[in-house]
Symmetry: C2
Subunit: 198 residues, 2 copies
């Protein structure tokens, strides 16, 4: 008789193992063999769920994106939704720093893998649209294009993430938030406590 | 009798081969074996010049940094030195796009390799100081900290590079330059033709 296996549960178990390996040792370490060792499954079982390394890496990236989105939804009450959608990606705590490391490892491979590059592009399109919608809702001044400003704000966040990842003593969490808030204030957002209700 | 070998010339030849391989096929392709095939040298000769893959990748990154610096020096006449030091890193032409790809591949490995991370950190310290010095020389308004603004401008450039690399149709060269120039103008720089002489 065939054993009854909960495929979704196994997938989630493999996903959690991929995340632990990648955030600890980098994406290069995320091989089917290592995931098998980490979960106690056989390599053939792991391979049943993931076609290969690229598939594992895409999963790790998806986890980063999902976590960021969930955090942004939970934090929108403090300082407005646009700010929450940006702060969620800044490496200002251990969880976000681990996510940033995974993202850099993913990007490094994505430059030469069309499938990974497409995931990156789609995630950024969704992110930019969400930030742009929040900027409009929160009262971006006339003459400012929400999509363009959203792209600029996301660019700032990504670049701060580079500096914070490689020089955390210099680009502290406080400095990251100050540079983002300075920019939001220049756009007429963020510094006013009641900006959401304007 | 020992053959006379010009070591510097060979190192440069290997460096050029590494660059061609990486910008074409990504950093993963830059193995000692591939470099040997590309140069016609034996793997043991290539290994004599480079201890291994990390060493090859550090070289590729150094080439990116050196090219950027040389271009910035050559372009400082147009629009000021601060702007030149920033525009040099934006992927607005084929050469800079190849450099950006190499940089992302390098960053992806640097998150889990302390030697590579140190190279990244040092290059950014030098870049930030150069931009800050140029901002001071060009008349940054009082109350603005040059190091902080330099870090923010570099962050913007890096984040625009992410979007331009993965969504070049959307984050065009014109849009990259417009977002950078908008930010420079907000700092009181760049839009005025005679800003250098203020």
């Amino acid at each position: 008789m065939p054993r009854i296996v909960d495929h979704e549960e196994r997938r989630a178990e493999v996903a959690a193992a991929v995340w632990r390996i990648v955030s600890r040792d980098g994406l290069e370490a995320a091989t089917v063999r290592r995931v098998a060792a980490e979960t106690g499954m056989s390599t053939s079982v792991v391979s049943h769920y993931f076609a290969g390394k690229d598939d594992l890496l895409r999963l790790a990236f998806r986890i980063v994106v999902d976590r960021g989105r969930e955090r942004a939804s939970a934090d929108s009450a403090d300082g407005g939704r646009a700010r929450a959608l940006l702060v969620t990606a800044l490496p200002i705590d251990a969880e976000r720093r681990a996510e940033a490391r995974v993202w850099f490892a993913f990007l490094g491979l994505a430059v030469s893998r069309p499938d990974l590059a497409r995931d990156q592009r789609r995630a950024y399109t969704a992110w930019r649209r969400a930030v742009a919608a929040a900027l409009r809702a929160e009262g971006l001044p006339q003459g400012r294009d929400a999509q363009t400003e959203a792209a600029g704000l996301i660019a700032l966040v990504d670049g701060l993430t580079v500096q914070a990842t490689f020089a955390p003593d210099r680009m502290t969490s406080a400095r990251q938030l100050a540079l983002l808030d300075e920019r939001l204030a220049e756009l007429g957002l963020g510094e006013r406590p009641d900006a959401k209700n304007d």
